[in-house]
Every structure is written in C-alpha cells, then in structure tokens.
Symmetry: D2
Subunit: 307 residues, 4 copies
C-alpha cells in the first residue's frame, strides 16, 4: 500500500485552497497516511512547560491530497479503514488560557491563567493508556482534525467549521465513513491530530495526543452537495455542527441530520423533526476550540417502517 | 405501599417554598407517586390543535413532599426504584414558537411559526411506542421534571435550574439515584412530566408524554451541601448543568463533576480536569426550555487506581 | 406628598405575587418612594470585605405598591418625575465570582476569584462622584431595579426579565416613563437599587450604589398588554430585552421595538425592521446579572413622514 | 492626491496574506481610496430580487495596500480624514436567511425565510437619505469593513475578527483613527463596504450601502502590538470585540480597553475595571455577521486626575 508522508517541514496549519497537493489518490485506492501529533512531536516530558516549548502554530496537517475525479458540487466520501499509533505513549497538557474550564482569548477575564501541566501516558498490555498508576484510558483512537479546503477562505487547523477541520469528535474513527463538502477539483483533503482517546468535550483542550498512521479509501457522490460534515457508522448516521454559542452547533447538527433523513429516507421534514425528538442523540465533541462541535445522530434501524 | 396522588386541582406550576406539603414521607419509606402528563392529560387526539386546547400553565407537578428529617444544608437523596406508565399511549406535539428548530419567545424572529401538529403513539407488544406503522421508540421511561424548592424564588415548572426542575435528562430514571440541594426543612420535593422515552435534546420540545406512577425512596446526606443536581447510576456519576448559552451548561456540569470527584474520590482538581478530558461524556438533555440542560458524566470504574 | 418607606426589616428580595402591598396608590397621585442601597446600606468603608459583610440576600426592594384600578392585561405606566440621593457618597465593589470580567457561578472556571475591593466615592461640588483625586463620575442617577410581579413565579431581585427587575439600564431615570406588563390586580410594583451613575454593562457588577428617594406617578393603559418592559423619553422609545446569550437580549429588544412601532406608528413590520436597521440604537445595560439586559431604541422624530 | 482604484475585476473577498499589493503607500502620504458597494454595485432597483442578482461572493474589498515601513509586531495607524459617497442613492435589502431577526445558516430553524425586499433611498437637500416620503436617515457615513491581513488565515470579508474586517461599527468614520494588528510586512490593508448610515446592530443585515471615496493617511507605532482593533475619536478611545456569543464580544472589547488604559494611562487593572464600570459605554455594532461586533469606549476626559 502506498504510504503518504508530509514532505519535510511542510505541514499545513490552515485548511485552504492555495497549497500544492502532496499526492494524487484514485477513487477506491487504499493509502496509508502518516500524521505527527498536534504539538509537532515536541512535547515529550512532564518537565516541559508548553508555553516554552510550543511554536507559534499548532496542529500540523498532512495534505492536501488531491482525489482524482472529485469536482466542486460533489460530496467527498472518506473511509477510515484502520488507525494505529506510531508510538507507545501520548501526552496531554494544560496550556495557559486554553481549555473548557478557564478563561480564554475568546472568553477573557482578568484572572490569571491556570498553572501549566503536562501528563505523559504510557500504553499498557491491557490496550489502555495509563497515567502512572492513577488511572487508565481504553484505546479508542480517532482523528481530531479532518476535512477539505473551504471555497475561498484558509481556516486555521485549530478551528472546526463546515469544511470539517478541528472537530474533535470521537466518531471520526476507524470503521466509519466521513462525508465532506467539495469546493475545489480534487477536494483537497487534510488530516491530522490523531488521538489515542478523548472524552466528550475535550475538556482541558488537549486529548491523548499521538503520532499515527491510518488506512484510508476515498469515494465520491457525484453532483450531490452537502452543507456540513457527516459521519456514518455501521449502525448510525451523524451530522456535525460547529458554531458558537453551543446551541447553534446543536441546531446546525440536528438541522442537517433532518435534511439527510428527508433526502435519503423519504421523510417529511416535520416527521423527521419528531422522530429525532424521541430517538436522536447529541453529544459535545469539543467545547474548547474557536467554535464548538456537536454531533447529532440516530440509529439507522429507526428509519425503517415498523415491521 | 402508600400511594401519593395530588389532591384534585392543586397541581403546582412552580417549584417554590410557599406551597403546603401534600404528604410527609419518612427516610427509607417506599412511596408510589402518581403524576399526570405535561399537558394535564388534555391532549388526546391528532385532530386537536395545541394552541386551542392547552391552558395557560403547563407541566403540572405532584408535590411538594416533606421528607422528614431533612434540613437546609443537607443533600436530599432520591432513589427511583421503578416507573410505570398508567396508560398505553403517549403524545408529542408541535406548539407554536416552542422547540429547538424554531424561533421562540426567547430567540424571536419575524418569521411565522411552524404549523401545529400532534402525534399519538401507541404501545406495542414489543415494549415500544409506535407512531402508525412508520417508526417505533423503545420504552425508556424517565421523569422530565424533578427537584426541590429553591431558597427564595418560585420557579416555573417549565424551567430547569440548580434546584433541578425541568431538566429533561433521560438519566433521571428507574434504577438511578438523584441528589438535590436542600433549602427548606423537609426539602419540599416535586416531580412530574413523565416520558415514555426521549432523544437527547428533546428536539421539538415535547417528548413521549405520559401519565405515570413511580416507586420512590428518600434518603439524606446530613450537613453536606451540593450546588447542582447530581445523578448516580450503578456504573456512573453525573452532574446536570442548566444555563444559557449552552456552553455555560456544559461548564457547570463538568465543573460540578470535578467537585464531586475531588471531594469523594480524593483527586487533585487539575487531575480530575485531566481525567474528564479523556474519559468524560457530555450530552444535551434539553435544548428547548428557558435554559438548557447538559449532563456530564464518567464511569466509576475509572476513578479507582490502575490495578 | 405622601412618603413611602418600606416597613422595617421587610424589604423584598423577590419580585413575586405573594407579598402584601405596603401601600395603595391612586392613578395620577405623586408619591415619594424611599429605597436603601443594594447592599442594605452595610458597605461603608474601603476596609471592608464584601464576602464578610454582605448577607445571604442582596438588592432589597421597596414594595409592592398596589396601584388602584390596574388589572391583568393592562399596561402599567410609571412616570419617574425626579430622583435624589439621600446621602453624599456611593460605593462600588468587587465581589468574588461576580462581574463581567471574571468567571462566575454561571460561567465557572477552575481559576481563583479576583481579589475583593471596595471603592467609596464622595460627592463633589461639581455634581460628580469622585474616587479620591483619581477620577470622577458625573451625577446621572437611575434605578437599577424596577418592575411588577410575574404571573406565577417569584423571581430574585438580582435577575431581570420580562417583568422588569434588575435591568440596570441607565434610561430608567427621572424624566422618563416606564411601561410594565400587569399580571395581578394592582400590578404589584417594586423598586430599588438606586445608582448615582453607571456605565453601559455595569462591568464589574456594582454601580455607584446609593440610598435614594424618588417622586413617582402611575398611570394605566387599559386592556393593552405588552410582552417586555418599555421606556419612553421625551425624544425616544425603547424596549428592554433580558436574556442569555446576549444576542437573544438584543433580538428580544429589537423585536419588541418593532411591535411597538407597528402598533402605535402604523408601520408594516418589514418597514419597521428596515427603519431600525438604519436608525436604531442598541446598548448593553448589564452583562453581569443572571441574564443580560440590552436596550434597543429609536428617535421619535424618525417615525413621522418626511416633511 | 493619489487615487487608488482596485484594478478591474480583482476585488478581494478575503482578508489574507496571499494577494499582491495593489499599491505601496508611504507613512504620512494622503491617498484617496475608491470602493464599490457591498453588492458590487449590481443592486439598483426595488424590482430586483437579491437572491437572483447577487453573485456567490459579497463585500468586495479594495486592497491590499502595502504601507511602507510597517513590520510584524507594529501597530498600523489609519487616519480616515474624509469620506464621500460617489453616488446619490443607497440600497438596503432583505436577503433570505440573513439578518438579525430571522433564522440563518448559523442559527437554523425549519421555518421558511422572510420575503425578499429592496429599499432604494435617495439623497435629499437636507443631507439625508430618504425612502420615498416615509422616513429619512441623516448622512452619517462610515466603512463597514476595514483591516489588515491575518497571520495565517484568509478570512471572508463578511466576517469580523481580531484583524478588523466586517465590523460594521459606525465609529469607523471620518475624523477618527483606527489601530490594527500587523502580521506581515506592509500590514496589507483592505477597505470596503461604505455605508451612508447604519443603526447599531445593522439589524436586517444590510445598511445604506454606497460606493464611496475616502481620504486616508497611514502611520505606525513601532514595536508595539495590539490584540484587537481600536478606534480613537477626538474625545474617546474604543476597542472592538468580535465573537459569538455576543457576551464574548463585550468581554473582549472591555478587556482590551482595560489593557489600553493600563498601558497608556497608567492605571492599575482593577481600577480601570472600576472606572469602566461607571463610565464605559458599550454598543452593538453588528448582530448579523458570522460573529458579532461590540464597541466598548470611554471619554478621554475621564482618564485624567480630578482637577
């Protein structure tokens, strides 16, 4: 299988239309994509201070990949067939004025920041990542960041949006299929920010960050556009809304999921609204990035007539 | 077992300190509490228009119950041992300018309201509630509204808050234990708004509304106050935050869950923050009431040292 | 003129329907209402710590006044004819976890609170309140809190809402007319929280707090209900929206102002929307209370045909 | 004076670092910059439907201008010396799902959009813009959009942010001075979206849109960075915060204004916080763009010791 590595030093920190593709990939081809961690692999010890070690830009992305045959107005289909860590440890950290329970650049207060901290977790024989002998987290890997180039803008890889980006939703994982809007020939696909695991919300702002490799296959739905990223698992369909305030992310996610059910499952919009009232699920992906990401979903079993 | 019914016509539409208790209950005593549905049982047909049928006040509560031996500064403990519907059908509805995907009194626009609709579901032999032959919803009952009297205020039974109230969180259910702040002797406990099931967010604003009876036992934690409602299941601990914007509900829920972990499990606050970053879960209970309710939770298994 | 003082020790900390009126007032009668400051006159020195001095309840209200002849469904009209401080100093303070640039009980973080501070200002000969020789604030008095009893609820005097309450809008001042919804016979009017001056937003949460007396006259608009508080100055009409997030307060204020222009000035709703786009003003009253208050307004001169 | 026109067809729809400068300008040089209206001058009649006439991209910007001698880490100073309309009419419009009192792409509901409308205003002899004989708006011109290139991102000209952009704040006007962060040599300055007037909030989303020319002079503060755009009038200093929810825009604006007062006027941060509590003003610039812009300000007279 072809391996795709970012050419040295050229990781991207925006999702945008201007970068040269690093590879062309055919529909149906399996490729193995390698990613570095969200801190460019420089945070390795609990003795480090993030504010002294981290560079000005965070969350380096591998890409863009040009997917042959994909055109504006299509939907890009991304199968994440498998995902592996390329090291046996992960870090998390407290970074000044970043996180869900601190004031931030966007929600500023006059209070001093929380102290800086680094946690280094090690992989165990039980397929978990443990912090000392204190607690352990089951291996549940996913990509925090994935998406396509926006139409006009170049958006920071720290931000999620309708192009995907830094959604930090644990369902962006192996065995699932992603759908993204396409605004440029080849779609211009980026991926990065692999996590060994993460709770819902990514509360302190930093998951279990790892370098990783994943096996991907791409497909296309011709001449059918979508407005927001979507996810499909073997049992569920999901829409991801990214916005602030958080209620707008929830509205976007459920609104898009209704559009999906109406188009592909033949529902009247108000019936879809009703069905999701009783059967939808909605969790917080991230509550720490520049905009927040929520996932709305429903089991596919419920979208069939009662038997 | 003693049955508790609201004396005729005296259902309450506020959680407040001024109403006379309808019963005194002892610590440890099992009582069966009966509740009418959130529309006072008047919505019974798909031919009705909610705006023509509903009275001025919604969500009638059974209570207040005076729990003997409970004092201000204690925590009220509520075991919901079982829950049954007292009829074999449920309604949901679209009410003008109410719901998650419409403008409302609190998020007004100049657009006309969505059309009114009523859905009547019937119980099946498969232990589901079905709407015609179109879809069915597994029986997953819980109480949309439960709590204690606030210190000074009398708060509408349509609102959730730090007293509990209309949280619409599916984990307020049989087999789980609720914890509420106590501001008055006897705690003054109210309950209502039983649901046969509900998705996360209660998207259109109206779940599968039923009349119900439930078996409750009360307990107390003396001289220990809590700031927000909490839930415990056999496997998880959970805090419920209710606020707008929704990010504040998420912050409150996770902040309170950290306080719980620090006090009862001996964690350093920043370690608890870290642990929840990787292992917490956070879902939307309601995104339709005057304030929104989010549940943050974590598995109790993760709060023990690594073995 | 009749003076109205609160009977000793019976100040109210909620706007609610249950308290006994302290006085009956006739339509058109001038009365002088006395109010204590928002800290019950206990904060008097910069050496005090608010957390040690303040009682459990803040913002005592004088009332309720029963306005004869006013019935549910009417609009209460309140003329504030004049306003005077009853002392020559004012305080402001930093209270832990309260204010616009700190985390709070409703927007919690893990950071420690800001330090506590008290500022005592003294009246000068220039009709200002000065803090030492550092800065001075022109006398611009108004009532931070004013309103009527809600229909069912009893709402903390620290909260603003559709009943008025703790709006902290500087236009609630002498020479202006207030309009409030009426839910009970006599309207049940409360007032308190006099300020010598305040910036827009009441940024740290505490204005220049004074004890005061004001001259009020009441009137009624029979059989005409309003949804939110309104203010009229000699030159402007204004609506006050109170909600969170703050955009909802802005939406409510402008939405209600359109309703006013449509009903009283004969505009088409979309023309009123257009006119306010070009001529409306919208400022932050408070960004510190449990919900935020914004004022939308427009000059009456613009509501007449072009001459 | 040198006139600067955008070379044909090359207007920009993003604020970004990648475009070639259209002109180099020296510090202190007066230049006259020409701008087209936010609809590229295609909306000219009340018989048009915006959805049929408008292209895919809105709000064309003139620029970027390279200001000689300005380097990253400096502050760009922009004097708007004068501003003139280059035509005698202005338009406003209702665009589907855009505006402050409609659901939008970011706050979606299931309701249909408001009807489309165009209003064409004509300049009168009274120096106003009148709509028919119904109402008129005094000439009060300003630039809705102005700013510098962000560090890495290319941001839609419909969005405001810490680079400036589509702030829609009426204080960005003749006689005032703007301050912007600098991330690239030459600062890369853009301007557009001239308005004949606008209310606070730009309620329906479209002000009195005009083509215009303005006289600008640029200056620089060397080696002094700012975090957010600032404005200075002869009598006031102002900071502009752009974010959602709106309370975050207010927090940012006041937080930055405190930083300004601390650095340039020698205040202790908590004293600045106190002063703005009593003397600050805070209005809504826009409540319709992708993020909202609020202006916090204070009179310079209050920042001097009491005399």
């Amino acid at each position: 299988m072809r391996e795709i590595h970012q050419p040295d030093g050229t990781y991207h920190y925006v999702f945008g239309p201007n970068a040269e593709p690093i590879a062309h990939v055919s529909i149906g081809e399996s490729v193995e994509i390698h990613t570095v961690d969200s801190a460019s692999n420089v945070l390795t010890s609990e003795d480090q201070k993030p504010s002294e070690v981290l560079g000005p830009y965070l969350n380096p992305q591998t890409g863009p990949l040009y997917i042959d045959g994909v055109e504006p107005g299509d939907t890009l289909v991304v199968h994440v067939d498998s995902m592996q860590a390329t090291r046996d440890w992960a870090f998390s950290a407290l970074v000044p004025y970043f996180g869900g329970l601190t004031s931030t650049r966007w929600t500023p207060t006059l209070q001093p920041p929380l102290e800086e901290r680094v946690w280094i977790y090690h992989r165990t024989e039980r397929n978990t990542f443990a912090w000392k002998d204190r607690w352990e987290v089951p291996w549940a890997p996913f990509y925090g960041t994935m998406g396509t180039a926006p139409a006009l803008e170049s958006i920071s890889s720290l931000s999620p949006g309708d192009h995907g980006g830094n959604m930090d939703c644990p369902d962006v994982t192996e065995g699932n299929t992603l759908y993204f809007p396409v605004h440029h020939p080849g779609a211009l696909f980026y991926v990065g920010d692999a996590h060994a695991a993460q709770g819902q919300g990514e509360l302190c702002g930093v998951a279990l960050e790892i370098s990783a490799k994943g096996t991907f296959r791409f497909d296309v739905i011709k001449n059918q556009a979508i407005a927001w990223p979507r996810i499909e698992s073997p049992t569920e369909i999901m829409s991801v809304g990214s916005a602030r305030p958080m209620e707008d992310a929830a509205r976007i996610a459920y609104h898009d999921l209704i559009a999906w059910i109406v188009r592909d499952y033949g529902f009247d919009p108000l019936d879809a609204y009703q069905l999701l009232t009783q059967l939808g699920k909605c969790y917080v992906g991230n509550m720490v990035d520049t905009t927040y990401s929520l996932v709305a979903k429903v089991g596919k079993e419920f979208l069939k007539p009662v038997s």
